[in-house]
Amino acid sequence: MDKNEIIQPGNLVYKKPTLMNNVPMHYCPGCSHGVVHKLVAEVIEEMGMEEKSVGICPVGCAVFAYRYLDIDWQEAAHGRAPAVATAIKRLWPDRLVFTYQGDGDLACIGTAETIHALNRGENITIIFINNAIYGMTGGQMAPTTLMGQKTSTCPYGREPELHGYPLKITEIAATLEGTCYVTRQSVETVSAIRKAKKAIRKAFENSMNGLGSNLVEIVSSCSSGWKLTPLKANEWMEENMFKFYPKGDLKDTTK
């Protein structure tokens, strides 16, 4: 059988979302960002919000997210994405407004903006990539770095006396009156990817239905920062990250 006979719409089991631009990604092999970008693109398309979406990029590895999704974007200063999103959503209430942030951006320098936007119940979604390290700047300690985890600024492992404790900001978010849906997902397996997509869809729908703030944490791997192969990084994530950052819904007021 000729190859072209097989390539037909009826046989199609997967295709790249049309919102994904045809440009090479700068992300490292094994990085979770690419998968999450794709899920965001798929959900926007499936909701028919291509012309009504505004994304806010962070400072961190996803600083160039605007290169990859064919929607309008604003690039925020480090940590300020929830404040930027707040204003856009309040002034354009029928738009789908979301931020896409890493752990350093969201849970360290932008802690105040994150907590207050969530607590005000802004009708936005925060996609939170937690890989427990500063990837963009070369592997320094993050607010979510695990105890004992080695990074370039805690090269002997994170110790409470020297570095304090990892911050479970998603747990904090679940206690806030303004949040509607707070969940922790991952994208290392096909089933995990499906669950993460459902979570993003639910969060985006909640924000369009005016139900309040939504936080979708994606526990992610960083093979470059963790200095592991992609496969080993996933194993390390499953063994260590999921213990401290257990997956599942932390809050869902729609139930």
């Binding site: 309008d72 974007w73 604003q74 404040a83 204003a87 002034l91 354009w92 105040a112």
Partner: protein
């Protein structure tokens, strides 16, 4: 006509009421003395029920300016207000706005510093305002009101300039103008722009990519140095055009004067009285008042100073605008400075005495 009604109010209140009337879309701010009446007046007036204007008390000045950033990038007329320590915190957001070419308004009702300083008036943020204030080569359009009427009038003017040039603009006021009550005629009511009008005026706005265009991206990031240099050159060309076209100033009794006092904002109001006192004593003094501090009226000052016996720069700081006046006059005339610090506002006769001491002896 109702719009021509003369009212009595504080400068801070005038800013808030003018903003509602000229169709501003959003205010984002954090309380700080001596400007809290701006957010208080907006909150009391409830414009979200009338014009649809959004008013939000943010968690910090940092958040406030980044809300203005988001709003401006989405084509809306949004502003924030603060006083000196708070405006220092906003500098990150302002430089990002400049880097993205975003139009927005920042109101600084100055108080004395450094640090937490005092809640009393000062003009000591002149350098910060006129030199950009944050990182990188950029300028903010700076308007210096000298009356409650100008507090009201400059809101619309600042937004017009900001959107015309896609650049942040600042109203650099101080605790005197913010707190004092004067007669004011507020601008007439004008509705906020519709989505269609915003799409037309701001084709760059991030409000959702329609099929007929590429995505709009608001970013100040550019890692390719040659492209970043080209962007900077574009900024500088824009700033040169603003310098050429948007200089504003006012003169009083300068033509027959032997001496010129150069002052802005509240100091200029005090200096108005100083020239009256001096003229009663037979000393012919005129007042040159820059209204735009950036772009600075350098050419006009140089022209005005020709043939005069001396120029005194009176400002409520340790000598900041005096540097711009000296650069403008470029050694062609004698330029001296007088000022008070730390929240002390000079008396009119102190300025006269300073003038006599410096030039008449």
């Amino acid at each position: 006509m109702a719009e021509q009604e003369v009212m009595l109010m504080k400068g801070n209140e005038a800013i808030a009421r003018a903003a509602i009337r000229v169709g501003v879309d959003g205010f984002f701010g954090y309380p700080i003395t001596p400007q809290s009446e701006i957010i208080e007046t907006l909150s009391l007036e409830k414009p979200w029920e009338t014009t649809g204007m959004v008013v939000l008390q943010a968690e910090s000045e940092v958040a406030s300016i980044n809300m203005v950033y988001g709003a401006a990038g989405a084509g809306k007329r949004a502003f924030t207000s603060s006083s000196s320590p708070g405006v220092a915190l906003m500098q990150e957001g302002i430089t990002y706005m400049a880097g993205c070419e975003m139009p927005g308004l920042i109101v600084n009702v100055q108080r004395g510093g450094p640090g937490l300083g005092t809640i009393q008036p000062s003009q000591s943020d002149y350098f910060q305002a006129t030199r950009g204030g944050g990182n990188g080569d950029y300028n903010v359009i700076v308007l210096a009101p000298a009356s409650v009427q100008e507090m009201a009038d400059f809101v619309d003017l600042a937004f017009d300039l900001a959107f015309k040039y896609r650049n942040p603009a600042m109203i650099l006021s101080d605790g005197v103008i913010g707190q004092m009550m004067e007669k004011v005629v507020l601008p007439p009511f004008r509705p906020r722009r519709t989505e269609e009008e915003i799409r037309k005026e701001c084709p760059w706005a991030t409000i959702g990519r329609t099929k007929d265009r590429q995505p709009n991206i608001m970013t100040s990031l550019e890692l390719t140095s040659s492209v970043m240099e080209a962007r900077n050159i574009h900024f500088q060309e824009k700033y040169a055009e603003i310098r050429e076209k948007e200089v504003r100033y006012e003169t009083l009794d300068c033509d027959d004067a032997d001496y010129i006092i150069v002052s802005f904002g509240s100091a200029a109001r005090i200096a108005q009285k100083s020239i009256e006192i001096a003229r009663e004593e037979g000393i012919k003094v005129g007042l040159f008042r820059p209204i735009t501090l950036w772009p600075f009226p350098s050419k006009a000052i140089a022209e005005m100073a020709k043939g005069k016996k001396g120029v005194l720069v009176a400002e409520i700081n340790a000598g900041q605008m005096v540097e711009d006046v000296k650069l403008a006059i470029n050694g062609a005339n004698s330029v001296e400075y007088f000022g008070r610090l730390g929240g002390i506002v000079p008396e009119p006769d102190e300025i006269v005495e300073a003038l006599k001491k410096q030039f008449i002896k």
